[in-house]
Symmetry: C2
Subunit: 386 residues, 2 copies
């Protein structure tokens, strides 16, 4: 048995298909005639998807308020501002459009718009109600489209915690690979690698179970043939579609089984350096973290290596498990993400602060890591990844 | 991409764990203070689980009405009678306790108790509302514990259709492997083989997708080590737990992607011969149906063979795919289920009627079969399986 006690629940209606975005109006109307669209400052405007969504909603008589100021690492100020506007206008539905940042924010805004306290306070005060949320994801990586989690940054303290309550599950997730072909290569690489780390950590973590492992195995299988392909062939619809599926499967997996030390360490990185893409921070931290977990995860790493197509060919168990780490290094090179923390502009004297923050705001992830980690070990991982 | 359009939704709260049945009172109270327990005539009484459940509910102040007349192939008369009693008593919650028969019935009763027409009419009239249902499964095979489907038999016409609407999803599914150790070997074999056929048909059917395939692959993996072990070692808690997980995964898979010709043909078998266990009927039909589907499923069969531990060892693709069929024959022998329709008491002159019924009441399953099937081909499969 994979785990002694398992609880499975995910009420999101997932719709996957090319062109499915055209149905957003009909779906939105089930919830409200006044929706707030949450998105970033540029990509959905440039790709024309925002205009297209506005028209789709309008055609079904759904009015809209647009909040398009979400930054790559969304701050609590942005979230509280959007929530205030949503309240003022009497918005009945939040539509998150874009990558992980607007999607995460849409869920946090949905909570803050229903309550009477700043969103930061929900780290300690459980939220019981939220406005309904529809997610329309434009990248393949976040997993946020299908789960309850939201990550936000406190610009004063540079903390970047994740949180999630049952009321924060999106009602519906629209996954339309067609709108993903406009994703630039760097975004394809960083978000695609995020998918890999999601399934790596959910598959090996202490909270793993048979259901999340099912999602992970299928995601590994899809990653094998499609991560590098989507990077090299941005307009390949099959690669885009399969990466979108892998992202959703990974999102379901972490919803059940959480993440581990790689995510726990990355949040302080992009929290302190908001210009660092989450996936780039993960890339810098993954290899050393995998070496740290190797002994605790030997059989899992062998299984993942098998799923990623690494040939066994006479390797001992130890060698085969280690071959996964080499495979990941090879993948990172193929998508131009073989970076170190130094390359991302991280200052060495901030590492101790970041090691501390990994436990202060992402303690639940650190605790889920297959091998126990303390602050000292975390600092060592940051140093080795520098 | 596995499928062009995918819709995923399953709102059931699944609770898995040894001894979890002890929490049923607390869970039931969320829905109502008066529950109706639906179960069969003997096994839950003999094993003491029914008495235990009654006490668990009582201790939390949940009153109960017991309907323990469900037969192995539940009839619409039983369902309508239970629904009438539920209405009379003002029951607010239905608890299905046992194997597939009481679980399927509990969902049908929940619909009929909320409406004003006989349950048979819901084959044509969609149901929009049902009483809340909690399932407590005592076998590992039905999958009914986690999906919306219900199968019922019309004793006049001998038809045995399946049906399912969104309102029929159980609210909560309690999967407690401890209560499964009392399952007799024949039940372990027939229900365990049902799990295999669920995942075989969901994994290869036309409606397959990445999400259902994830459940299937994990279920194959669990079946490999635990089906025969659970049969040979009824008290092995790990084997029981893993078969219970496999059953739930398979139930989620068919909820998304349906079944195929094996199920379409089996329903007329146990519909016409109510003493035939569903899993025994499936066992008689599987090998010939797999031969029929072999060409259409070559790559899938190879993948399943791999997941079930069949060694490749120099086999050609054709040989490796066929090796899965031989593996299934071997498994059927190991669990004493290598039966033919004749052995189950089926009369040869009824085969044409049964071939017709496969399409009349299980047409959606026949249509989902990887290779197209018409009535003539269905009759041929029945004859070859006789």
């Amino acid at each position: 048995m994979e785990s002694l006690n398992i609880n499975v629940f995910n009420p999101v209606r997932i719709h996957f298909g090319n062109g499915f975005i055209n149905n957003t109006g009909k779906i939105a109307k089930k919830y409200s005639n006044l929706a707030m669209i949450i998105t970033g400052k540029t990509s959905m405007q440039k790709s024309g998807v925002l205009d297209r969504l506005v028209k789709i909603l309008k055609d079904e008589g759904v009015k809209q308020v647009i909040y398009d100021k979400i930054t790559p690492n969304p701050t609590i100020d942005e979230i509280d501002e959007a929530a205030r506007i949503a309240k003022e206008k009497g918005v009945g539905l939040i539509i998150g459009l874009g990558g992980g940042s607007p999607l995460d924010s849409s869920k946090a805004i949905a909570v803050a718009a229903k309550g009477n306290i700043p969103v930061w306070d929900y780290l300690k005060t459980p939220a019981a109600a939220a406005l309904p949320v529809i997610t329309i994801v434009s990248t393949s990586g976040t997993g946020s489209e299908v789960n309850r989690y939201s990550v936000m940054t406190n610009p004063k303290t540079k903390e970047k915690p994740g949180f999630g309550y049952e009321c924060m599950y999106p009602k519906e997730a629209i996954i339309d690979p067609e709108i993903m072909t406009s994703m630039p290569p760097y975004v394809t690489a960083t978000t695609g690698f995020d998918v890999f780390v999601h399934v790596l950590e959910a598959f090996t973590g202490k909270m793993r179970n048979a259901f999340s492992s099912a999602y992970c195995m299928q995601a590994f299988y899809l990653l094998k043939d499609n991560l590098i392909k989507a990077y090299n062939e941005p307009n390949n619809p099959e690669a885009r579609g399969n990466m979108a599926l892998a992202s959703a499967l990974a999102g379901l997996a972490i919803d059940l089984s959480g993440v581990g030390i790689i995510h726990a360490l990355e949040h302080p990185v992009s929290g302190n350096y908001p210009n660092v893409a989450h996936g780039a921070g993960l890339a810098a931290l993954t290899v050393e973290s995998m070496k740290y977990n190797l002994e605790a995860c030997k059989r899992d790493f062998m299984l993942i290596a098998h799923h990623l197509g690494v040939k066994r060919a006479g390797k001992s168990d130890d060698e085969y498990a280690y071959a996964l780490i080499e495979k990941i290094e090879e993948i990172l090179k193929s998508i131009n993400l073989n970076v170190r923390l130094k390359d991302l502009g991280v200052e060495k004297d901030r590492l101790p602060k970041m090691a501390k923050e990994a436990f202060a705001t992402m303690g639940f992830a650190a605790q889920n890591n297959p091998k126990d980690v303390d602050e000292k070990a975390a600092l060592r991982l940051l140093e080795l990844s520098y």
